[in-house]
């Protein structure tokens, strides 16, 4: 069995890992077909409109599965560019001096002297709707980001519905708004390069909840729901290990 790839925290990445990650994004941003950064970003809001967020009906339960499938497909496209890359998660609970809101690797405008940082911004060029601009952020005060205690409160929800609504509403939505700019509205949020690491943190918290609770009372009638436009059903994304990755802080192989 192939080894699981471990998605790292942004704050724990080595400079070589950050360079490889930037390289993958740069390469995806340099192409325009269905392997490109713009193609994947455009699936979420405009022009694709495939994302699932909370409502009072069933799609509330698809928020986490749909975004897991989304990140999985995006990560594979990034690994097609640079095979060592895995998506890193942005731990919003960290405070200075460990992290000052937006992680430095995403906040720096330029890298390696004067090269534009592909993690800082992406140039959107859409014909319909007509959007031609570079993504930007307007982050709020660092203290308005979720704390570790608030994350633990959300993880403490034993009921699936309570958990997914709290994770989406109290943490996910809040960080989108905190980041501001393009991240601040559904239609264009995925074009901001930090979107993927924000959602990687959300996916990680779901996995941590699953490690504690299993799949809880997840509605079984949704298990065969297709997560369009991906060739995946809900049941296919319930285990991150089945998708080839994990969020464990460390992996130590025991010799046998």
């Amino acid at each position: 069995m192939a080894d699981l790839r471990i998605r790292p925290g942004v704050h724990n990445m080595s400079s070589a890992e950050v360079s490889a990650f930037r390289d993958a994004y740069s390469q995806m941003m340099a192409i325009t077909d269905n392997r490109s950064y713009g193609f994947f970003a455009g699936l979420h809001g405009v022009p694709g409109g495939f994302c699932k967020h909370s409502t009072q009906s069933a799609p509330a339960f698809l928020f986490l599965p749909w975004h897991r499938a989304y990140l999985y497909n995006f990560e594979l496209a990034a690994r097609d560019r640079v095979s060592s890359v895995t998506l890193p998660w942005w731990d919003w609970t960290l405070r200075p001096p460990r992290q000052d809101g937006i992680p430095k690797s995403f906040a720096d405008r330029v890298v390696d002297g004067n090269k534009p940082n592909p993690l800082f911004s992406y140039r959107i060029d859409l014909a319909n709707p007509p959007i031609h601009q570079s993504t930007r952020r307007e982050p709020g005060p660092v203290d308005d980001l979720p704390t570790q205690a608030e994350v633990e409160d959300v993880l403490g929800n034993a009921d699936w519905t309570d958990f997914t609504l709290a994770l989406e509403g109290q943490l996910h939505n809040r960080v989108h708004g905190w980041t501001g700019g393009h991240m601040g509205v559904v239609a264009v949020a995925a074009f901001d390069p930090i979107f993927w690491s924000h959602h990687c943190m959300v996916d990680r918290l779901w996995w941590m909840w699953q490690v504690r609770n299993g799949n809880g009372n997840f509605p079984t009638d949704l298990l065969d729901t297709v997560l369009a436009p991906f060739n995946m059903r809900v049941r296919d994304v319930l285990s991150v290990n089945d998708l080839g990755y994990d969020y464990a802080a460390a992996q130590t192989v025991v010799p046998i």
Binding site: G45, V46, G49, C51, K52, H53, S54, T55, Q56, S57, A58, P59, N128, P129, P130, I131, H132, Q133, T135, R136, E138, G140, L165, A166, G169, Q170, H172, N173, R174, H176, G177, W178, G180, G181, H182, M183, G184, V185, V186, A187, V188, A189, A228
Partner: protein, 185 residues
């Protein structure tokens, strides 16, 4: 449901979509305050000293999320609260909810109208703008106020975090109904 609280689906129709539409600008964080909402007084006898409850939530149903993103700050018995009011129990602050808005209608006319006329043979996904809901834990603030008041008002101060030119950034908080829910040990 009062007129002021009625959600307006995809309220602000931008400009006719067609060739020649001008470019839509980047999202911003508006500085002009959005309109606050204050309820009529509601009896909180259910939370009084003679009633035990372990926790209390304020549930808001039918929230429109088609336009701006915002933090909804919930204050009890503080109708003058605004975005600068300290978020402490002393000022009636109970908690916040967070709406991740779609940013207005980027499509053609009718694109953001929620289709409510679907039959048993329509297996398409529900419309993405079906209204959402929020729950705000209000236990501590409600318990404090119920010691001295038999009624409270609920004020929601929307602090807009992201909006495009397609959004109404004044009349931001639109919902269908809200209710207190208390749970016993």
């Amino acid at each position: 449901m009062g007129k002021a609280s009625r959600p307006r689906r995809g309220a602000k129709r931008a400009r006719p979509a067609a060739s020649g539409r001008r470019t839509i600008g980047a999202p911003t964080r508006p500085t002009t305050p959005a309109k606050t909402y204050t309820s009529k007084p509601v009896s909180v006898e259910f939370a009084g000293p003679s009633h035990r409850f372990q926790w209390a939530d304020l549930e808001i149903l039918g929230i429109d999320h088609s336009e701006a993103s915002y933090e909804g700050r919930v204050f009890l018995n503080n109708p003058k609260a605004d975005a600068k009011t300290p978020r402490t129990i002393d000022h009636g602050y109970a908690g916040s909810f967070y709406i991740f808005g779609h940013g207005g209608c980027f499509g053609d006319v009718g694109h953001c109208e929620v289709n409510g006329h679907r039959d048993a043979y329509d297996f398409r996904d529900s419309h993405p703008l079906v209204p959402t809901r929020a729950r705000v834990p209000v236990t501590d603030t409600l318990r404090q106020l119920a010691k001295t008041s038999s009624e409270v008002t609920i004020t929601v101060v929307p602090v807009v975090t992201g909006a495009t030119e397609l959004c109404n950034t004044t009349d931001v908080f639109r919902f269908e109904r809200m209710r207190f829910l208390t749970y016993n040990p």
